[in-house]
């Protein structure tokens, strides 16, 4: 399946895009997404290791399976406030 990952802040700046498209197997988890993202965009490696991922605007962990057509976001360490 094809997924689109939203990028923010430093991650967006490193890649130079607001989102990236990745091809993943149907049963992919967030852990696999993290691997594929940094393979496709090695410039993200350092930040992506510390990033969280969100599916439908909810934090999830590496074991979470990725549903089809879900809104997926890469959340680098936050610094609001």
């Amino acid at each position: 399946m094809r997924v689109y990952v939203k990028l923010f802040a430093g991650a967006r700046e490193l890649v130079g895009q607001e989102s990236v498209a990745l091809e993943l197997p149907a049963s992919a988890t967030v852990g696999l997404l993290r691997e594929r993202l940094t393979e496709a965009h090695p410039e993200l490696r350092s930040l992506a290791n510390h990033a969280m991922f969100a599916i439908e605007a909810t934090y999830c962990d590496n074991e979470t399976p990725i549903p089809e057509n879900a809104e997926i976001a890469c959340i680098p360490p936050v610094s609001g406030g």
């Binding site: 923010f8 490193l14 930040l47 605007a57 934090y59 976001a73 936050v78 610094s79 609001g80």
Partner: protein, 147 residues
Amino acid sequence: MIELTENPLEPATLLAKAQSPDAGAVVLFLGITRRMTGDRETLCLQYEAYQAMAVKELERLKNEACERWSLTACAISHRLGAVPLGEASVAIVVASAHRGEAFAAGQWLIDTLKECVPIWKQEQWADGKTEWVHPKGNDEARITNDK
């Protein structure tokens, strides 16, 4: 009340809504754009959010605070875009019958906001560099853009 806004924050409005005869104590926290970080000078901070998720996370924090403490009011307002020196990037107001709860809830809300809510700041340094701030434990990853 949860709000993300590009306009200057209005703490007086938040306070007026929180003051009521049920409250004995109101605590307001403002986060301000500070000029100096160590010996580096900031010109401006720029805030960006994953807006839909940030609102959802802020609502979650508000609900959790209302469960943990007996609050009569709770409002969080975060500014996005450019926040000049001396202006507020975040305003948190909590009210409760007794002051201990208001202080505890206010401090917990800003501490937890800074850990969980998908909002990021970019430093615009006086030396011309810009830098997204991504704290990693005690360290901070800084994605620098030398202009």
